[in-house]
Amino acid sequence: MTVEERKGHLMREEGGQNDQFPVGMRVLAVDDDPTCLRVLEALLLRCRYHGAKAESFDLLKEGFNVDHFVPVTTTNQATVALKLLRENRDKFDLVISDVHMPDMDGFKLLELVGLEMDLPVIMLSVNGETKTVMKGIAHGACDYLLKPVRVEELKNIWQHVVRRRKFSHKDYSNFDNGEESERHQIVSSEGGQDLNISGSTNQNGKLSRKRKDQNEEDEDDCEENVQENEDLTTQKKPRVVWSIDLHRKFVAAVNQLGIDKAVPKRILELMNVERLTRENKYRLYLKRLSTVASQQANMVATFGGSDPSYLHMSSLDGFGSLHVLAASGHLPALTSLQSSKVLDRAITGGLGNHGFTSSRIVQVGHNNTSTPCNDLNRFQHINLPGNQHGSLLQGIPTSLELEQLQPRRIQEANSHFPGGFSDNKLATATPGSSFVNGTNSSFISQTLRQQAHPRRFINHSSIRATPISTHPFHVGSECSSHFPDLGRCKDTRKCAVPLTAYATNTSSMGSFTTDDECPKFKDNLTISQRDTNIPTISSTSFMAAPPRDPSIGRDRQCQANSSIGRTMLLPTTMDREMKFVNFSSAGNSKERLEPKDIYIDENDITISSFSSSTMSNNFMIDPFSGNQMMNNSHYNKRMDKSIISLTTASSSILQENFKIDDSTVDDPQKDTYDLEITKLQGGIVIGGCNLDDLVNSSMIKPERDEISLMDSDTGCDFYPLGACM
């Protein structure tokens, strides 16, 4: 059979395996130890076997055109590997490399591959020390496995690769790329075996290359699209996308890691991507992320609600950053709350998220002044660092403090963010300002504070990061999947819906229940609101229930309503997912809708709820608060708080940028909420509010003042993202 046939055969066998086990995945394995290499090769082949026929093997053994069947290329020298990769960039889908090699350091190879070829790289080593693993992640590895490797682990890895590819190519949904005929070629340079293989591989390579090209094209397209979109909004998008993707990856990685091993791997994966794109920023994020390692949903509650411009910016920034963060792990999609004013507050609220258990940094509050925050809109990214532990709280207070800082808009305190961020990668959602707090990459909750309502949030900030304990909150976390695309929602509950549910809530605002509201979120979110109202998705959920109702959602959302004060909270992390946080929007919006006074309460809440659980991230998502706030100016206060959000989404969540926005936002206002919940990996699910979206739409657009978030629910919308993972 010719190669093609085989390939076809394989493909056929796989069926649409693209979605499934990527049997055709072409792997390049590098290890100076011949024993390990051989074992690894066999394991990979075995994985590949999955679904494949045994005959292929026979063929292989006979020295037949292994090309298609042999999906694994091995070499014992890093330099040879690099050479192979450079020459046949599109021939490989994945690289597995040992850390300890004589001719080149494994990390170095990892970096180079990541930078040059944007391939997922998995590190392998006997050494499983945390710091080494961290280093791997820092260098961008997608995963870090310990020797001896087991088949199960290898099987999982494929998923990551596919996912990554999928996301990177197009925002979600591109399997094609991944699919490309992945074929494994076995070429062992090592033993000089089967030289024929090389020949065959060439053939395969061509074929694969074609596919790859296609994929690449697709990718490019996607990227372009994305970029275009982003450009429109603020450029952040592209980053965001990546971040999301990365984040996703990150999250995924983390998840996987969480399950299997440490998180760093995932993070590394993210790192890879990020590196390529935004080196600087992302690096930071990545770093943060890596530190975070813990997925702890970063709640990024960016609430950018404030001024639309802000929102954009901030949101974008924030988001962008968030994304980055998310990508890195946890960016909490901050919900840029629109009304910045409110957001500011909200953001602070977001801080509450602290819960982030690990890294969710919610940056919120970032408000970097840079952003136009002009009015409050700052998105404050609330970094809710909170990885789970209450650290968020810290963050929150800081955020609150931040709020205080600026009476109006700027509440931003952006930086404050919550210092708590522990991992924060926080993307500071603040526009431009890159995460304010970078502290933990976690969330970036932008809480734009709109008005200076300061301190309100502080109160809220209580956001409580509630439990974030596990992952990202809520909202995102599970929801994260929800969000917009996400379907991921892992935990269903999580639904990270985060808040977007909120967003949707906006209308209802109060009701966040993300579940309910989040129509968008879909089932995934199931977040079920965990508390029923609390949008917080299952665990985290967030928040933000549309602040509108003063009592509304907040309570609900609030996770557990505990504080409900309004807090929307967010969904406490759902599992890792971040819960985004966003919330901010709530605050942001409009200015203060006075009526909302209530918000204050609520806003405060926002986050608090988070699901107590897990999500540490939870933070609230006040977005509502933001939203509401926005409307009411009250929100602002709240919003600030709320904003926090979420981010936490567990790493997983973030990645998914959920856009909560639109979807959730149902309301026109909502649009802003894009909350993309980027799931930060870390759990920050940033409300995916795509900044763009957010900015545009959601973010409660500060401009909308009148709209006030409430309408915009967005406020809430913002964040939830995170939740959605």
């Binding site: 074992v39 066999a42 093997f57 006997v126 050494n127 001896p148 490797v149």
Partner: protein, 163 residues
């Protein structure tokens, strides 16, 4: 089975041992290695990876491992007067990697200890550790040899059976 065995016995001129007996012997050997800590779970994975399509997989891996290990041990045994701890550590790290890939538990554990001495720059400790590693390795090697022989014979039987 019985009839088969007897058939085998009758049909094959050499090796009084029946296939079953061989198999049994092999199993017992492998089990004892597990029990004694010479092998661990990883080796099971290797066994699992060997199947109809790759019948010689385990043997191949074992051979690779032995070659590599001996090479490393040889290197380590040289220049004992002056010890370059980093270099030694690198070798030991490598040996640790391959032994863990193959499932050679005792060897791996000995390597871990060896590395500790390296980190401490403890020359005597290193020399001792090297001896320990060698000891375990050669023990394992012997058993591997027996194992592979048995396997070969079993496979010979199998192929004969088929013929």
């Amino acid at each position: 089975m019985l009839p088969l065995c007897s058939r085998v016995l009758l049909s094959h001129p050499f090796s009084p041992m029946s296939l079953m007996a061989l198999r049994e012997q092999l199993n017992m050997l492998v089990n004892s290695m597990y029990i004694e800590g010479l092998l661990d779970q990883q080796f099971q994975q290797l066994q699992m990876l060997q199947d109809a399509s790759s019948p010689g997989f385990v043997a191949e891996v074992i051979n690779l491992f032995c070659e590599d290990a001996e090479r490393i041990l040889t290197e380590l045994t040289k220049d004992q007067a002056v010890v370059d701890f980093q270099k030694v550590d690198a070798y030991v790290h490598q040996l640790k990697g391959s032994s863990s890939s193959v499932g050679a538990q005792n060897v791996k554990l000995a390597c871990i200890q060896f590395r500790q001495f390296c980190e401490e720059n403890n020359k005597d400790g290193c020399l001792n550790a090297l001896n320990v590693v060698k000891h375990h390795y050669y023990l394992l090697r012997n058993k591997f040899d027996t194992m592979l022989q048995l396997e070969q014979r079993i496979q010979a039987y199998d192929s004969k059976q088929q013929n």
